[in-house]
């Protein structure tokens, strides 16, 4: 009950005209950017980060939360109307969404099913988050510097392993991100480090230009490949209207059970680092196969759309639990959000719920409100969706380039920000083209100061003994074993495959 009281307090924090306005703005922009072809949630959140400059920290965080959350709605639109998933979790939505829109000629209802299921799944995720977050934070209070060090290593390694096609490449960029973050000042001694005599580098590599470049600008460079592709024609012949999109009571009854089931499942998947919304959507759909469906899955079944959409939005909400309680994001988008929160003075971690309840509960409450706003806006934009999705990529390229330049300039008030954006953008593009996913680098860039601080403290406490750090307590021993398993599993699997003991594709 105490959590509900605290959540109620969070709503009191959020219910000011400015915060509601920021939440509405975040929900609107997040949804439109999420729906835009070729941008995606990661680049969308990164590009919109500078908008938070105008606000006080609480409002800025409300805006960020709304941006992040409503982005999750947008990916389904192009999956349903064009059979092109806007982001990776929407891959499963396309399986039933597109046939329902084209074969069954119910595009509006397919969109509304996705939106309603997203709202239900997200709400379930947020209710669980309101309990799980503080519980995780309580558990986190037992974590000393040694335990936090190993936990952060586990989080970074697992995302390095899980994101992208090659685990080694993921960890290489994780380590590179840590080294880039170590440029600037050593926070413990207050002396310069790796600034190479450059006065700008004394302040370190700035987060906003770095993230805008790595994801936003790299995406623009990638879009140049697609700019002359003929825009895919929508197979929709019906006029999309709000009235025509509303669901019957029978439809609502059909989607409720899968949405609730996937909402619960997705939330717990979202808590796991590296798993996130995509795994949630895949699992939600897979579980739905085990249940009786009115229409077979894959032929335009509403339950199929509801299962994966509810799961991916619940996972997005569930990912907030480790992010807020332990300061560990579960994905690249989570890392950008964490960086944005830290920029505004919020220090996610076990003490967050105790020391900064206004921030923590305000953010959770704002997610509930953003969820409702996103549902209303998603319903409202249905008549305009085909036009939004038809915006040619070649027109988007110069517009996003301008946003990248002004966004990075406004962070530093100098070309230093633009140069960082340009270099990190070009590097991000080269990495992605070479099979190196940049999401682990973003995550490690954000978490590196926390890891270094805890690691140095842990070694001071242990007097330099490595075993006293890694086997300091039961928690650190278990985490060390998990860390070793994470590191060794792909190596052993590769060796077994090579020797023919394990059958399967050879690792690249």
């Amino acid at each position: 009950m105490e959590n509900f009281a605290l959540l109620f307090h969070g709503f009191q924090v959020v219910f000011t005209l400015q915060n509601i306005g920021a939440c509405l703005l975040g929900a609107f922009l997040g949804l439109i950017v999420g729906a835009m072809p070729g941008i995606g949630s990661l680049a969308g959140v990164a590009l919109l980060l500078p908008l938070t400059y105008k606000f006080n920290p609480t409002t800025a965080i409300v805006l960020l939360g709304a941006l992040y959350y409503s982005n999750m709605y947008g990916g389904a639109f192009s999956a349903i109307l064009l059979n092109i998933p806007g982001d990776s979790p929407a891959v499963m939505t396309a399986l039933d969404g597109y046939p329902m829109a084209t074969v069954k000629k119910r595009p509006g209802q397919a969109l509304f099913t996705a939106n309603l299921a997203s709202c239900i799944g997200g709400t379930i995720g947020m209710i669980i988050l309101a309990f799980l977050g503080p519980a995780l934070a309580d558990a986190g209070l037992h974590f000393g510097p040694a335990e936090m060090t190993i936990l952060l290593l586990v989080a970074m390694t697992s995302i390095g392993w899980l994101v992208g096609s090659n685990p080694t490449n993921g960890v290489v960029l994780t380590l590179l991100g840590i080294l880039v973050a170590s440029i600037g000042m050593d926070l413990q001694s207050g002396s310069p480090r790796f600034n190479f005599g450059n006065v700008y580098l004394l302040g370190g590599v700035k987060f906003i230009p770095f993230v805008i470049g790595t994801v936003g600008f790299a995406q623009v460079m990638k879009l140049m490949d697609e700019k002359d592709d003929k825009a895919k024609e929508s197979g929709i012949t019906e006029r999309l209207t709000i009235r025509g999109s509303l669901l019957s009571l029978h439809d609502v009854k059909r989607i409720l059970p899968p949405a609730i089931r996937s909402g619960i499942l997705g939330t717990f998947v979202g808590v796991l680092p590296g798993a996130g919304a995509t795994t949630g959507a895949f699992l939600g759909y897979a579980v739905q196969r085990a249940f009786k469906n009115e229409e077979p899955l894959g032929t335009g079944a509403m339950q199929g759309i509801a299962a994966c959409e509810a799961a991916n939005n619940a996972a997005a909400a569930g990912a907030f639990a480790p992010l807020l309680a332990l300061g560990i994001p579960g994905s690249g988008t989570g890392a950008v959000l964490l960086g944005g929160l830290m920029m505004w003075g919020l220090n996610p971690g076990p003490l967050l719920f105790q020391n900064e309840p206004d921030f923590a509960w305000g953010l959770i409450a704002s997610l509930f409100i953003a969820n409702i706003f996103a549902l209303m806006i998603a319903l409202g934009v249905i008549p305009m969706l085909l036009k939004i999705l038809a915006v040619p990529v070649k027109v988007l390229i110069p517009i996003i380039t301008v946003v990248c330049i002004v966004g990075s300039y406004s962070d530093t008030y100098s070309f230093y920000g633009v140069i960082i954006m340009l270099i990190s953008g070009v590097c991000g593009y080269l990495f992605e083209k070479s099979g190196y996913s940049t999401a682990p680098m973003l995550l490690s860039f954000v978490l590196a100061p926390l890891l270094e601080d805890n690691m140095r403290k842990a070694f001071v406490i242990s007097g330099g003994s490595t075993s006293k750090v890694f086997f300091n307590s039961a928690i650190s021993t278990v985490l060390t074993i998990v860390f070793c398993v994470l590191i060794l599993t792909p190596v052993i699997r590769a060796i077994l495959k090579k020797t023919g003991i394990l059958k399967g594709k050879k690792t690249k």
Partner: protein
């Protein structure tokens, strides 16, 4: 002979990337261990080279592994067309010193859409209006960001 900016060039970036990360690892390791030190045995605490030193050693080791993996992978294909955008950003930076940032950005959007992409006047003007709203409306007026006005702006406005 017609210039083809969509022609692909195969570059062994899958082995070049680990070579670069290896070089970064070596550079950071040399500075960490050589200049900053690893462990202060008097105060019994790590120095500022401790953490980046460990990370750079791990980066060196994994870069070697990634390099070996890269030898077996096909080369990535690159097109000249992808490099137009970074080139445009450099030109915008140069133009900003002369005519200021806001005019440079608006001219860039106009030239890109009208001359390079050969879009209609309507599309170009709509895109210009969106960019003007973002740059002038959101960033200059709402967020109060002072963009550079350039050499000419300094001459005219003092």
């Amino acid at each position: 002979m017609k210039f083809d900016d969509k022609k692909t060039v195969k570059i062994p970036s899958k082995i070049l990337v680990p070579v670069v990360t290896l070089a970064v690892g070596v550079l950071f390791a040399v500075i960490s261990f050589g200049q900053y030190g690893f462990w202060d045995s008097t105060a019994m605490k790590p120095t500022k080279g401790f953490f980046p030193g460990i990370i750079s050693v791990a980066l060196i080791a994994l870069s070697v592994l990634a390099f070996i993996n890269g030898l077996r992978s096909p080369n990535a294909e690159f097109k000249l067309i992808n490099w137009y955008v970074p080139g445009a950003v450099l030109l915008i930076i140069a133009a900003t010193y002369v005519i200021g940032m806001i005019p440079s950005l608006l001219i860039f959007v106009f030239l890109w859409l009208k001359l390079y992409e050969k879009q209609s006047w309507l599309t170009t003007l709509i895109a210009l209006a969106i960019v003007a709203f973002i740059v002038i409306g959101c960033f200059r007026i709402w967020l109060d960001i002072q963009f550079p006005i350039g050499f000419l702006g300094e001459l005219i406005f003092g």
